[in-house]
Homo-oligomer: 488 residues x 3
């Protein structure tokens, strides 16, 4: 159904689509475009123009309001010598006539060379990538991810701290609905930062993000008490050199700093990352939302902390901080252009000798089976806002899941390919043998070619109503020792 992508097409949907070495490569290229001049407080950092991308067209596809993401992408394309076309208002586009994203993407991919997309549905960018023969960059999909914001955030951290490894970063505010936070914490964990969560009440990290930090990124969650903050401790990692480090970054990994040593004993916070309340993603009432201001930052542990914010802010970040040396959020916004110039040029293969299309990075993406749901039967993604539940997309999208092994157990979970929400409890049925089981190992140990025989159900009743009968420990014991349990 979806067109086959060109052999070297690379998409950036999740921050985890980029290896750490690739991220460093993006930063090296970004640094080469960055021009800073005047008073550092002028917040004026203009990206150097180049003529690298003449005749290249960026398509901006925004199904949600945006200023900085869209304009900084478009500015980046112009600074590269390229051009862009824009569809920024769903009300004046073919979406108003009921067109699916899958169709829009297949059409617009013929008009441009690279595409950035923002969409209110989690996982929409992954769906777009499935249908696009040109590189798709996720400009924010629901409350899922916003990887290029994370690139700007990390770049800012690196500029301020001269390194990315072993930082201690507090994240404050709406940790639940903020896609920015989700991309950010994965990257922090991968670069070995300790993460201090400071959620607004009821806005903790979503369970699947929390578990992923602990199980896949090996964070050790240490509850706080009066003397230390709760934090996710990341394991020490061996030094990984940046492959294309320019002069500015060359020394960064050799620098010891105030944040060095055993992270649990570090008192100082290197950065506080603040986010606004994502009112468009929830109907919950906002209460006791943390406000970061001069008073808050008076605590000694914040004495050298950079204050970051993806912006726009509403009132969670006090205006009085704007003249504080620790406030780097406008600088962070300025880095949007050179960082996006770097990403676009790498995706288009325009940087001499290096390319995200060919570059093999250090981060190993776990290989996983993909379980694809038949159209009308079986389990569906548990996230109501996932793109798979959008009626307009229903002819073009299937419920698809990565089969992810549970750490240290012989069981697995299902992770939606689009929105990456996990389903822990489900049933596995065999179409051939007509039994089903609650032992998810049955799916975990399936060979690639046999997965089409299996069917996942959310509920026993579902499986039964489709003619399957329950068999305890099916996978473990094998077909010759069946025991059937009857269900009414």
């Amino acid at each position: 159904m979806a067109p086959k992508p060109l052999p070297d097409t690379r998409h950036v949907i999740s921050i985890n689509d980029l290896s750490k070495a690739e991220i460093e490569t993006v930063f090296d290229v970004a640094q080469s475009y960055l021009t800073e001049y005047g008073d550092p407080n002028s917040h004026h950092r203009i990206a150097r123009s180049s003529n690298l991308a003449p005749n290249f067209i960026l398509a901006s596809l925004f199904y949600e309001p945006s200023t900085r993401t869209r304009l900084s992408f478009e500015s980046a394309m112009l600074r590269l010598g390229g051009t862009f076309i824009t569809s920024a208002d769903p009300a004046t586009s073919s979406a108003a006539k009921g067109e699916s994203l899958a169709d829009s993407v297949r059409v617009i991919a013929n008009y441009a060379d690279v595409m950035v997309i923002r969409h209110p549905r989690d996982g929409a960018a992954r769906l777009a990538a499935e249908f696009s023969p040109i590189p798709v960059i996720n400009g924010g999909d629901g409350s899922h991810e916003h990887p290029t914001q994370t690139l700007c955030d990390l770049f800012t951290l690196k500029k301020k701290n001269k390194r990315l490894k072993n930082l201690k970063v507090a994240i404050a505010g709406d940790l639940k609905g903020s896609r920015t936070i989700h991309s950010f914490v994965y990257a922090l964990a991968r670069f070995g930062a300790d993460i201090v969560p400071m959620p607004a009440q009821g806005m903790e990290l979503p369970p699947h993000v929390d578990r992923r930090l602990r199980e896949e990124f090996h964070c050790n969650f240490v509850p706080g008490d009066g003397s230390i903050d709760a934090l996710y401790r990341t394991p020490e990692e061996p030094h990984q050199p940046a492959l294309f480090a320019g002069p500015d970054f060359e020394l960064s990994f050799n620098v010891g700093g105030p944040g060095g040593g055993d992270p649990i004993h570090r008192k100082k916070i290197d950065a506080v990352y603040v986010t606004r309340y994502q009112k468009e993603r929830t109907v919950e009432k906002r209460e006791g939302y943390p406000k970061i201001d001069a008073q808050f930052l008076k605590e000694p542990k914040y004495s050298h902390a950079s204050v970051l914010h993806p912006l726009p802010r509403v009132d969670e970040l006090d205006a009085s901080l704007d003249s504080d040396n620790r406030a780097v959020y406008f600088e962070q916004a300025a880095y949007g252009v050179p960082v996006r110039m770097a990403l676009i040029s790498l995706l288009l293969g325009l940087q001499k000798g290096i390319s995200l299309r060919k570059f093999e990075g250090g981060f190993e993406k776990p290989e996983s089976l993909v379980y694809q749901q038949p159209l009308s039967v079986g389990i569906r993604c548990a996230n109501a806002n996932c793109i798979v539940h959008e009626p307009k997309e229903s002819p073009y999208v299937r419920n698809k899941f990565h089969v992810v092994k549970n750490s240290g157990q012989d069981t697995c979970k299902l992770r939606c390919v689009y929105c990456e929400t996990d389903i822990d409890r489900f049933f596995v049925a065999s179409k051939k043998n007509k039994w089903f089981t609650d032992n998810t190992a049955a799916l975990l140990h399936t060979k690639d070619q046999n997965i089409k025989d299996l069917l996942a159900f959310a509920e026993e009743a579902d499986a039964i109503s489709h003619g399957f009968h329950f068999r305890r420990h099916a996978a473990a014991r094998g077909p010759q020792h069946e025991s059937t349990k009857s269900h009414s």
Copy 2:
């Protein structure tokens, strides 16, 4: 009132503004820009960039939602090395302040070199052209026409069938409200295709389009029975060579194919053209709308039929067809860029040696008198959605009609210059002689310089209330044999 256009300004408002030879010229140029690579199923056809139009500006003026038309025009302009300015949202433009189209066009024509306009009113693009010193391209006006879509459609047919002549094309869906269909059937008839109408219930071709096909494009309507489809048969035409045929098209007219021979005996359909229900153009309820899917296409006559759709689709075209080899609608969308590149560059006179401004094509536009209505009295366009009825335009537009001879009769109809809707029955009054008549020949035989003496009325009562008296057969018998009929 309207500015005089520059002497060599050429507009494309109706597909009939282009001769067949000109259309072939557009296709030859388009073919030169087309790059197809990768798997044909990748739907990836990128137009070759050129540097033909640096410093040229396209103005996109969209008073209705659009994605593909606007973005493909803008992409085409960029691929030509030009640039564009866009007003895509009526709510954020001066239209929100009550500005007329006539004023907007006169202003914006100073900002650009060529203009594409989309408008909800039939005939709006023709009005725009009257006020524009730069070329105006109709990007869709009400349910009137959409000529550049037709160019893409024809180009697709030509690519798939290696010829344009003597095809058999089925058109399915909303034949009434779809401007795409109206431009398309005129072009099909002119290129000698047989047209098989498959309207949704109550959505037949509008009467004025049907009559024009039969009377002006010489189609012979053959009603269907169980064994053959109803169709418009077009007359065989002598071979007309493409003047600027490139290597790709050179042989196209010499190729016999499955569609050759006497069209009435051909069983195979060469193409099925599907359109969505134009819900924005009507309040009628949609019932029994045809759905084109694998089942439908199983009939042997469709075995080699290309499936086209101007997109966006809603659900009249099944997603399961996307992987069918006959589905060419995404390919059709991709051709939008090279075809529009060709049209723009020809209108701007940028192609070496050829230009739509100077090129004399093979299609003879019927010369006709134009009858212009005084402001406050007489007949008005019968189409309520015509631009002449837009209150904002009333100071700038007059009811104007082509005087079109009825085929084989000594009578005429009035065809609105803007929306091309016909009025068959009307009365003609002589201002000088104070009579009026129901014999429309009185207008048909008027000399150009005398037409200002005549006044057309929709109703007898109207003519009488303005002081005219009825005279039977006025034109035929001449002034010396008057007989007056009294009317109460």
Copy 3:
């Protein structure tokens, strides 16, 4: 709080930010870009393209509907060889998420090299300029000013009358709400025009504009009677040569014309400037709005009057005038591109040898103290639509006033730095001495460094409630002769 602008950053917020010599410079450059060809009635004047500004980016920030201002700025940037990014719809920008203008500007300034902004609040462009390290051009702020429209208007007057000095210009319509009019009358007065106000009923010039014309621009208001129009007479000024006059303008100041001689005796009107009713700025009902048509212009005094209109028009300017030789409004619109090309290129320092950044003009901006209000106490701008009253901006903006001496008196008024509305009556309190006075000279004679000791109050009660006591003639008598008046 605001970033320090780069040392040579120059903004154009009010027409009074440009000296007369600078305005002439803009026109000389504009003339060099202007190409007029074809029939003068074709209204076709295309700006010559240049390659002066490659790699430069204009940011268009429009918080209100616009067609001609935005598109002509963008076209101007393209004609200069530059590019642009656009945020034209508040509903699809970060403003929809509650972002302040101050924040948006600080972010977007990193994406572009020059910025044009339109906003519904008076004074918004000045606020934007405070936060922008790149040049900000006011594209219209509430009913305050629209200086680039005035540049187009003046350029048109100069083209038609071969001079700018000593013209007689009638201004008709909504003189109250039209920002275009406000910028225009200041410029007319400065160039020595006599101004004939023809307001719609209840839509006279706002009092602060009227007083400024009389007191600061030295206009003498002459009430009309049956024989002569009411008018603002401007003083004769010595000849001021244009510093960079090109061949087209060289002779302009030596030409005597029908408008020469003592302006009070001139009968002829050189130009009629018509504006539409600014319905978006008021809830008042529109009554007896003047309509300029052929009948109106039949009066002999209009026999050579050019008719200007900033457009869009609604119905205050009759369509029948469009073919009248005196109608120059479409020509005026066409000049928008070369005039804006000139302004942008001068602000960016791209014109060889001349620049608005370094050029010292002939108009002396009155040096004034600026009184800045503490956050929570004291007087606030009297204009409810001023940007200082926008809740979203409250963390970023302070009530600030120029201390403007009243002509011929030892008193002063407070003029809002943003919207330039005046407050005539207020009280001055001394924080150190705890008295307050109604003698505004106390503020007028304060030394720069001492102004922070003073506090202005709108009402006596306010001052008293904050613990101050009244002292008559405080400033005149000095601290050693206090007399206290008690207030209940």
